[in-house]
Symmetry: C2
Subunit: 422 residues, 2 copies
């Protein structure tokens, strides 16, 4: 009995949510990091503003700070009013009291002198540019300036004590900029999910090694390490384990002790063949305390899946082909990470026309959710390679996954398909 893609994703959701809650309940889960180290991290608690923004009333323009009332009363001749020009307020200094009858030159962002409640832009003054301060200078400004004109009131962006950012906020440039503006140099962030990555197979050789007959290079460790890193996880180890149940189980138990991961992710060894190391090692033969279901999901590629726990740690088993691994990651683990951990951002989903040779079709077995790889050129998507799970070069030339759900058995050229942008 095959399991639906959505059902399996829900089970992965429960698994990862449980692992994450155990991690958060553990000691030292929340980390305090500098702003520079907090890019793409998730805020662990609400942050209240320690100061108001702006911290003080300041000018929105280069101009003259005045008491608005003074522009509508004594000294008005026609449409302008004359003021003595007081010394300017230097940036970064306290502004004193506005001297009576004076206008004070202020640059954008400078603190308003006490008493001033409006700014007249220098372009509206006569003369319409600043000159070095000297006693006796006068300036003519428009009459009847409204109170508050070109003034940024203290706290008009946020008041001290107000919620600046809620827990769960993903910290990107704007959010980190706000924290810096508030004077906050370090923030509490949620930990990264720790993933122990295991490849299996006597036939796999690490890149850089030499292939013997019948051997292939291990693509999965590299592929999934990169995918997990891009998704904000911490890969605590990625290695190839021997393709026999006993040594596999021993090495896994040792790695669990050493790395204390939140999640174990293995590749390969879970299918229906005669030599399926992960399945054999975790089948509950007493070597390892494990409760893993080996199931068949109605998905192609990536049908065989393992899910459960090993020695109390959450466990996912992906199939051994690199394309199956990537599809399994994108269909099951990545969306769940987005939901549970707030990072990574979900994939962009589009409905776009299918590009095929005239009369061509894209066919998918009934009852199977087929995931094809394709190249989206901004207007339409062209399938790359066939459905085969060994086509890693075709995958590498793709920038999208084409979704052909269970009830969709054929799409023709020009018909719309759902794609997920990689």
């Amino acid at each position: 009995m095959r399991r639906a893609v959505s059902d399996h994703r829900n089970q992965v959701l429960e698994l990862v949510r449980g692992a994450w809650q155990r991690r958060l309940a553990g000691a030292g889960a929340v980390q305090t990091v500098s702003l520079a180290g907090a890019v793409q991290r998730v805020l662990a608690s609400d942050i209240a503003a320690p100061v108001s923004l702006p911290p003080f009333a300041n000018s929105q323009m280069d101009g003259y700070a005045v008491i608005s009332g003074a522009t509508g009363s004594a000294g008005a001749t026609g449409s302008t009013v004359e003021f003595d020009v007081a010394p300017p307020v230097p940036a970064g200094r306290a502004a004193g009291q506005l001297p009576p009858g004076c206008a004070v030159p202020v640059m954008t962002g400078a603190m308003l002198p006490a008493g001033a409640d409006a700014v007249v832009p220098v372009e509206q003054a006569v003369p319409d540019s600043f000159a070095p301060f000297e006693p006796g200078r006068r300036v003519a400004l428009p009459a009847n300036v409204p109170a508050g004109q070109f003034v940024r009131a203290a706290g008009s962006d946020i008041e001290a004590g107000a919620l600046a950012l809620p827990a769960g906020t993903v910290l990107k440039a704007a959010q980190l900029g706000l924290l810096a503006a508030l004077g906050i140099a370090e923030v509490p962030v949620l930990p990264r999910l720790r993933v122990l990555l295991l490849s299996t197979g006597d036939e796999v050789v690490a890149p850089g090694g030499t292939l013997g007959p019948g051997q292939i290079y291990d693509a999965n460790t590299t592929l999934l390490s990169a995918a997990l890193a891009e998704a904000g996880c911490e890969v605590v180890s990625g290695r190839i384990l021997a393709d026999a149940p006993e040594p596999f189980a021993r090495a896994l138990a040792a790695d669990l002790d050493r790395f204390v991961p939140d999640l174990v992710l293995s590749t390969g060894g879970i299918s229906k063949g005669a030599f399926e190391v992960v399945k054999q090692a975790l089948a509950g033969d007493g070597t390892v305390r494990a409760a893993v279901d080996f199931v068949s999901v109605a998905m192609q590629p990536g049908g065989p899946q393992g899910i459960g726990s090993v020695l109390g740690t959450a466990f996912l088993g992906f199939p051994g082909n690199p394309v199956s691994c990537l599809v399994s990651f994108e269909m099951f683990l990545r969306p769940v990470l987005s939901t549970v951990l707030a990072v990574p951002a979900p994939r962009t989903v589009l409905n776009v026309p299918l590009r095929l040779p005239a009369g061509g079709t894209l066919d998918s077995p009934a009852g199977i959710h087929q995931v094809r790889r394709g190249w989206y050129n901004g207007a339409a998507v062209l399938p790359m390679g066939g459905p085969g799970s060994h086509l890693v070069h075709a995958l590498a030339r793709s920038n999208a996954l084409i979704q052909l759900p269970e009830d969709l058995i054929r799409r023709e050229a020009g018909q719309n398909v759902e794609i997920w942008l990689l």
Copy 2:
């Protein structure tokens, strides 16, 4: 005379392209990095496949490898043919010659014995499961198996010597997985753009410090460092320089010597006020050999912009407000980095309805490209805060930039606007 946004972006494009070409022409521009260190880097040269993928013909199923011709000739009784079961091919070992009259158990991915040209899935065999090898076992397989059935031919994904990935490819999980599958452990990648980041102003204090009267915290270094890092640049230094032309010019010259950046990016000090340190220092007074245009772009916020070179290094000057900095980065620098360096990926652009109180409008001055910040909830975008460039808290609660181009002076609730997803 205000400059159009697109004209300024084109000038930034020329500036960054020139800086990048000088960098690439320099010694040691191309770096060789491990696959684990190559995530989101850009391939510096074409990569040819050193081996074929798959390296050898292998089975697509768990089943029996046979000579297809043998299933259509002698030994056929009705719809099936009987074979002796030969010892299985262990994973990672060379498969020998297929013995005459035999079928060889093969697991998915295992090398086909020499002579075999087809695989019969175990489900179609009688018996339909594998048993441990012993001499004398027989298996009945369907007659007339077509040649090539369930065989992945050597080189069917990519042939040795063919182009695996072209120069300029952005290396993500799938591309790195392909390189690993090809046995390649290190790749030549393009360098990161080195950016020297400078904040100016006597009024700015680094986060964590104590504010005096009239002072504010420096948000720009944090905000732009994060934005540049997310965009794949290397920020070689980010510091606050004194707000006087002479010390600013001296410190800048020293930093250029020390860090040898590709691009200098300053914030603040380029407007029309009486104290504009960047403008004064780089106005060609002899202190620093500079050729910088200080221009006014028809954009709000972010109108004042500086562009040119300082001591032969490309220079951009953004205005001093954090919101203006982010908007300047997103409108000018980030799209240019995407074009010239291939990373980051361009922002997703959507046309979505505007969410406003009933009867509300979003107004933009004629002839000015206004960039508002907003929250896109998946269906519509709600403006956050007003147009003011000091509203960094409103920016931090936004996930989109709302574009109101020069000729657009009003949008009403429910009308569509273009947004860029942050």
